[in-house]
Amino acid sequence: MHPLIKVVDLCKTYENEGVKTRAVCGVSFTIEKGEFVSIMGPSGSGKSTLMQILGLLDRPTEGKYFLDGQDTSAMSENELADLRNRKIGFVFQSFNLLPRTTVYENVELPLIYDRIKMSSSNNKKVLSALRAVGIFHRKDYFSNQLSGGEKQRVAMARALVNDPEVIFADEPTGNLDSKTGVQVMEILEDLNRHGHTIILVTHETVTASYAKRIIKILDGKIVSDREVSEKKRQRVENRKNIK
């Protein structure tokens, strides 16, 4: 069995008007199906860059990336778009919902770009994704009528709707107050319990601790990669119980 994600000596150098910025370099790791991994590091350390490469939004300048055993470097833009559509879900810090559009339609969006699967089951998929994140009761609201926490739930439902292999969440609690942040993290935890692979990007230690494994990066390099100790996880559980 091949791992879900395997990267080897990954590098990404941005070039803007002759100025080269090395955002990520020499990164290698594997992630198995069903894992809940946090990529943690201070601002500017290259977390988002790494996530964009793993999420097939950008290509590495060096190194190899195998998704589900397939070498992604040889793929065309259209093939990458298809993979993003079927195998990957995204949750962003600023929600990125379409304005003047209902919750239902926002969640349905990935299905519209999937031209192979039957569209007759779309309705069922949207409704079950809405239920999974507890936002079913708002399905006919317009996205701009929702609170921040509700918006992020919609975004998670949208990431879920195509039943992807992996969900990427880049600072999903960054625009939320701590209580709503906890709720969002609990939903991610719950999704992981139901078998979804989650890769979380954050600079907060507490948020990162929801994961079972933390990859720390600094200046574009991995500085540590370890399972979260039971003690730490216990502390998170305690915090939840206090509330």
């Binding site: 778009a81 993003r84 990125n96 003047r100 990935p110 770009y113």
Partner: protein, 414 residues
Amino acid sequence: MRVLFDPIKISYQNLNGAKFRSFLTMLGIIIGVASVIVVMSIGGSAQKLILSQIKGIGSNLIGILPGASEEEGPPAMALGITITTLKYKDYEALLDSRKAPDIVDAAAYVTGTALVKSPSETRQVNYQGVTASLINVENVSVEQGRFFIKQEDTNLARVAVLGSATAKDLFPNVDPVGKNIVIKDQSFTVVGVLEKRGSSGFSNTDEEMFVPLYTAQKILLGIDHLTFIRAKVANEANVERTIADVKSTLREQHNIKDSADDDFSVRSTAQALEILTTITNVLKYFLTSIAAISLLVGGVGIMNIMLVSVKQRIWEIGLRQAVGAKKRDIVLQFLIESIFITFSGGIAGITLGGSVAFLSSLVIQKLGYEWEFSLPIQSILFATGIAILIGLIFGMYPASKAGRVSPMEALRYE
């Protein structure tokens, strides 16, 4: 299907969300399409009016003019040149049933302008010296008194028949029949007044005055040639053959061997109609294309607003790509949006232009013309097609720009 339908919904929502700005965006297209519609509608009606007046003269008439002319070009007379080759003898020859058997009747004409005095008024009047047969050839009828009789063609009788407007001008309060008028120091008796007919072709008989042919030639003008002969053919189907008869008769009269030496020209109303149709069509399409130029200006406005839109919604492009939209989906979305804008502008423009043309036709009808409002389906289809085309052409560049946005780039700038 959804990939097609969604952009239309998005465009509608965007336009609806910023109504005034959308209106400004579409204004160029609205005005452009409206002017195309106005020009096509009014041009079409004007063309119909002109052609129906020509038809009103009768489609079984043949006109004979002095001087050679190109088949398609204007007759020499229209260019202000006097040619004296057409004579009364020619007119008589055409009435010979052995030479041109299908001619039922013909009228000969000379024209002039003179100062005419009635007991109370003095007017500058266009007059025609005509044969008595005019009444059989043209569709005029006598309202009061009589028209000329055959003997008066050549007996230098000093009699006149007035068009209805001329009669009113010269005799505002009294019945003109039997009264005297003075033309060039000669006293004439008014013997009749014609029924009001309205303008027809390029002349308006209501505003003219008629005197017998010889009287005009000898007493008023001092000439012995004709300016015009008009012949009536029994059956429209025989017009072509009769034209040939007329030509050979006149060649015989003028001792002409070769048709290249013809010193006259023969026209049928059908030909005139054809020429006029061509001329008015050219005019109509020329004006329409000028109106269409304003659509280009509107198109540039659309391009501008679409470029702004691509920039403003760059994160939306990124998001769509992140959830699986391909380059072609993005390009299609923005193309459909710009077409939706120009299409909506087109519909508004058609409504506006149609209303303007309709109101104008009401005004023109009030002015007394037999004007018919028309908004042909072709002009609506043409305007709609042009609007869609403008959206396609000017949406191309912004759409391809949207398609080139990389998802990573788009998601960074929020």
